[in-house]
Amino acid sequence: MTVTRQPFEAATPDDKLTYVGTSPPRIDGLDKVSGAARYVDDLDFGPDLLFAAVVETPHAHAIIKRIDTSRAEALPGVVKVVTGADFPFGFGLYMKDRYVFAQDRVRFVGEQVAAVVARDEGTAKRAVKLVDVEYEVLEPVFDPVFAASEDAPLLHPELKNYPHVPWFFPHNDTNIAHWRKTRKGDVEAAFAEADLVFEDTYTVPRYAHCAIEPHAVVSLYDRAGRLTMWSASQSPYTQRHVIAEALEPLGLTHQQIRVITPYVGGGFGGKAGVSMEIMGAALATAVQGHPVKLRFSREQEFYNTYQRQGLEARIKIGVTNDGTLTAIEHTMHWDAGAYVEYGANVVNAAGLSATGPYRVPNVKIDSLCIYTNLPPGGPYRGFGYSEFNFGLESHIDRIAHQLGMDPVEFRRKNAIVEGDTLSYGEKMNPSGLLECIDKVADAINWGTGEMSGDPNKVVGKGVALMWKAPAMPPNASSSSFLKFNEDGSINVTVSGMELGQGYLTVMAQIVGEVLAVPPEKIRVETPDTDRNPYEWQTVASHVTWGCGQAVEAAAIEAREKIFEVVHRVHGYEEDSLFLSKEAVRCTTDPDFELPLRDFVIAGIETADGSYRGGPIVGSGMFMPEFTSAKSDPETSQGGHPNVHYTVGAAGVVLEIDRQTGKMHVLRTALAVDAGKAINPDLVRGQIVGGLVQGLATVLYEDMRYDDNGRLLNPNFTDYKIPTSLDIPDEIIPIIVEVPQPDGPFGARGVGEHTMIPAAPMIANAVEDAVGVRIKSMPVTAEKVALSLWEGEN
C-alpha cells in the first residue's frame, strides 16, 4: 500500500522542523479582513461587459417541442439569445451525460434551455421572460428505488452511448447509470453463522453546500479566438479540460482556453468540476469580443448547481456474541438526479468504502447511481461518506445495544488497524483510529451520565467513527513552480485552490521548511492555467497530501540548485551544505554563511569578477503512481482505487427539551488523524467548521421538493444554515498524528472528514437521551418531538 518514496530530507541536520507543525498567520489574512480580496464578481471588465440570464424549464421531465426567441431578441438591449440548438454538445467529468443547454428533453425543474445576453442584467432578466418554450410534459420520477425498477420511465435512453471512465458500469436501458459492487468473503454464510443479524433502512435527503459566494463566471472569447474565463471554481484545470472537450467542435483547444480563479468564497464540493461555467464558456463564443458575466442568484445556486445526493440505504450486519463484526451487506440507492457526470463518482466512492472504518471479513456492497428528475447530484464535503455514515454508524450503535455492549467498546473492538484487509483486497494504511476513539471518549466523559439543570431537559451522549479516502482517478496529479526574488523571498505557483481551508499558507510552510525561508516571505499564487502548472482539482481533501508533495519536490529541486552552485564556487561538498535562517551553511565550516538573498537572483561572484548560478527556480510534480482503478466489476477485487484513508472519531453531549424536541449541543469533540498537522490551527479550523456544517445537516437542513420536483426552499430563509447562535457551547478539536508514510512530512488530508461523523453521533445521542431512534435525516427538533409524542400516545 505504501509508495516507495524518498523520506523527507531535513533542511537542517538536526531534523528539527521550523515551520511545519506551527501556525503562522494565514498568508491571505490581510486580503480577506481588509476587503482587498477580490472574488470573481468583484473584478471590473469595463463598459463592454455583457450580462447573461438563463431561461429555465418549469418542468421536471418534458420534451422541448419548440423554442421561440423572437420576442426576446426584439427587446432593446438584448445582444444575443441562444438555445440548445446552438450548442449541441455533451459534456461531463466522468461520464458525458450532460448538455450545455437542454437538447430535446429537460430533466429537472430549473434546467437551462436557453440564455439571453444583454447589455445589462435587468434587460437580460426581462428578456428571459419573453422566450417562449413549448413542452410536452412527461412523467417524472423522483424516488430512486422506483427509478431503478423496470416500471420507471427512462430518463436517458442514450445512456449506452455516453462515454465514461472505465470504472463505471452503467446498466443500459435502465436508469442505473453506475452500479458499484464490492464483494469480499461470503456474506450469506456469515449471516447464517452469526449470533445476531440486524437489518434496517436509513434515508438521507438532499443537501446544499451553501457557500456564501454564489457561482459566477466571466468569459471572454476575444477577437483572436482565445477564451479566457474568470471562474469561481475549485477546479481551474478540470474546467479547462472539460470545456475544451465539449467545445472542441467550435475549434477551441486546451491551448486556446485560459481559466483564472481568483479567491473563491467557499466551495465544499459545489464549485468542483463544471456546472454553470459551461454556459458561460458557450455564451462567450456567441458574443465574440465582449466579456460576458453569468452570476447565479442564490435561488439558482440552490437548484442548478450540484446538490448532495439523496440516499436510501439498507444495512444488514452480522455479529457474534463476543461483539465481533462478521458480515455487512450495504445496499445504497442514490438519488443522483438528472445528470450524474460527477455524482456517479460519489456513488462509486461509497461503494468501495461503505463498511466504514471496521474490520469486516465478509462484505457485500451495492451502490447504485440512479437517474431521477431532480437537479444533478454531485460532490459535497464527505463525498458519499457523509451520506452513508448516518445509517452505518446509527446501525453500529443499535447493534452494540442489542448485544448489550458499550457502543464505544464495540467500535474499539472492530476498528480497522494498519494492515487489515480492505473490502477490495488492499491493506489498510497506518491509522490512529484507536487513539482517536479513546481521546474522544475521554473528552465527552463517556460512560458518565449527565443531568440538565432544567427539569424539562435530558442529556444524552453519542459517538460515531468516520473514515474517508480521496476519490480520485489513478492519475490525478499535481505540480508546482517556484522562483526566488532578489530579496530572497519566494513566489510559488500551484493550481490548487484556496477555498478557505488555508491551502496557500500550508504550501508556503512546506516550501519554507525545505528552503529555510519564513512563510510570510513566500507568496503562493491562486491559479491561472496559462501561468500556474497543472493541478487536477482541489477536491478529495488531497491537496495538502498530493500538491504538498509537488511543492516539496519543487523546493527540493531549488535547494539542489542552490547547493550545486555553492559547491562550485566555494568547494564545499553538497551533502555538507544545509539551509538555515534564509542562508546556506555548512556542517564542516561553522563560519560559512551565505544569505540566500545575496545570490538567488544575482548569482555568486567569483575571484575574477565573473558570476556563477542564476535565478533559482524549482519545479515539482506528483502522481500517485501506485493506484489503479482496474478491478473486477462484479467484486471490485484487484485494483488499488484509494491512496489511503484518513480516520477519526467524534462524540457529543446533547441536551434535549422533552417537551419541544429542541436540541442543544453542550459539548462535542472530534479527533482526526492528520498524519502530521502542518498547521495545527488550520486543522482545528477544519474541525470546528466541518463539525458545525455536519451538525447543520443533521439538526436543521434539508432540501424540500413538491410533487412536481420544484424545490420549495431555494433561499436562506427556509434552507437556513446555522447562525452564530446555533453552535455547540464547546467544541474540542483533537489532532492525532500517526504519520502517512508518503505524505509531505507525514501529512494527510482532513478537510472533508470533520463533517462525516456529525449526523450519526447526534442520532445516537438522541436515542441515548430519550430512547427514540430516528432513521431519517435530518433529526430536527420537530422530528424528535413528534417521535416522543408518538411514543406517549
Binding site: E121, G122, K125, R126, S297, Q659, T660, K662, Y700, R704, L712, N713, T717, D718, K720, P722, T723, S724, L725, D726, T780, A781, E782, A785, L786, W789
Partner: protein
C-alpha cells in the same frame, strides 16, 4: 440586481403630502419605511408598485413617548429603537423582549414596528404582543385620521384594515395597570435570525386577568379570548393550566408549511401556553426570569 420593474419614487416631506401622493397614485402605490419587506418583495417580483412613497424624510416620526397612560410609537420607530428605549424598558419591557427576537441588527436597524404590522405576514413578531397590549393604530387617509383597534387590523395574510391612500401615523399602546407580567415565546428552528414557527404572548395583570395572543398559527395573529375567559380571575395551578391547554386547539388554526407541520405547531402552542402563563405570572410577582430570557 436591480428590481426588474420601474417605478416612481416620491420622498414625502409631510404625512399630508404622503397621503396626497398615495391617493393620487391609486392602488399600485406603496409606502416605503424600513423597506426590509418591500424591497425584497419587489426584487422577488412579488409586488409591483408603480409609485413608492418614502416617509423617512418626514420629521419626528421615529419618536417613542409617553402620552398619559399610553406609550406612543411613531411610524418610523424601528425594532432597534425599541431595544434601546429606556421608556420601553421601563414601562413595557415585553416590547423589548419581542423586538429582541426579530431578525438581526442589520434588519432591526431599519425595520419598523408599523411596517411589520403593515406587511402582516402571519408570523409577524409584533402581532401577538400588540394584540395583548390592545394597541391601536392611528392612520391618516384622504378622509382624514382614524384609529383602528389592533384586533381589527389584521384581515388576512398580508392584508390589513389599511385602506387605499392611508398611511400609518403611529401606534398607541395603553400601559397596563401595574403590576403586570408578560412574555413573548417564539418557537424558531434556529436560535439565530429566523421566522417564527409559532409564537405566543401572554400578559397578566394584578387581578389575574390574562390576555393571550398567538402568532404564526393562523392566517393572522389572533387573541385567544376563550382561554382568557376561562382563566380570568383564577390562580394558576397545574390543573388549571392543563385545562387551559385543552382550549388551545380551538384558538389557533395552524397549517403545515416549510417551517413546521400543523401537528407540531398545535402541540407546541400548548407547551408555550404552559410556559408562558407561568412565566408571565412569576414576572408579575417579581420572581420570574428576566425579560429576554429564552424559554423555548
Amino acid at each position: 440586481m436591480a428590481i426588474a420593474h420601474q417605478f416612481a419614487y416620491h420622498k414625502a416631506a409631510t404625512l399630508d403630502e404622503a397621503v396626497e401622493v398615495l391617493t393620487r397614485a391609486g392602488p399600485t402605490a406603496r409606502v416605503l419605511a424600513g423597506g426590509t419587506d418591500l424591497v425584497p418583495w419587489m426584487r422577488d417580483d412579488a409586488v409591483h408598485p408603480e409609485t413608492v412613497v418614502d416617509i423617512k424624510a418626514i420629521d419626528a416620526l421615529d419618536e417613542i413617548s409617553l402620552e398619559g397612560d399610553h406609550l406612543y410609537l411613531g411610524p418610523l420607530v424601528t425594532f432597534s429603537d425599541l431595544l434601546t428605549s429606556e421608556l420601553v424598558a421601563d414601562r413595557l419591557p415585553i416590547l423589548r423582549e419581542m423586538a429582541d427576537t426579530v431578525a438581526s441588527p442589520g434588519i432591526r436597524n431599519r425595520a419598523t414596528v408599523a411596517g411589520n404590522i403593515c406587511s402582516a405576514v402571519p408570523s409577524c413578531d409584533a402581532g401577538p404582543t400588540l394584540l395583548v397590549l390592545e394597541a391601536s393604530v392611528a392612520v391618516l387617509g384622504p378622509n382624514g385620521a382614524r384609529t383602528v383597534p389592533i384586533e381589527e387590523w389584521f384581515v388576512g395574510p398580508r392584508q390589513t384594515a389599511l385602506e387605499q391612500g392611508e398611511v400609518v401615523t403611529g401606534l398607541s399602546i395603553p400601559i397596563p395597570d401595574q403590576p403586570h407580567g408578560a412574555i413573548y415565546l417564539k418557537l424558531q428552528r434556529y436560535e439565530g435570525e429566523d421566522l417564527s414557527q409559532a409564537g405566543v404572548t401572554v400578559l397578566v395583570t394584578g387581578n389575574n386577568v390574562f390576555r393571550i395572543a398567538f402568532g404564526a398559527v393562523g392566517p393572522v395573529p389572533s387573541r385567544a379570548h376563550e382561554i382568557e375567559r376561562f382563566l380570568a380571575g383564577r390562580a394558576l395551578s397545574d390543573g388549571l393550566i392543563a385545562e387551559a391547554q385543552h382550549l388551545v386547539l380551538g384558538a389557533i388554526s395552524p397549517i403545515t408549511d416549510m417551517r413546521a407541520t400543523r401537528e407540531y405547531r398545535a402541540r407546541i402552542c400548548e407547551v408555550m401556553l404552559d410556559r408562558g402563563l407561568r412565566a408571565a405570572v412569576s414576572r408579575r410577582d417579581g420572581n420570574g426570569p428576566a425579560y429576554g430570557t429564552r424559554l423555548i
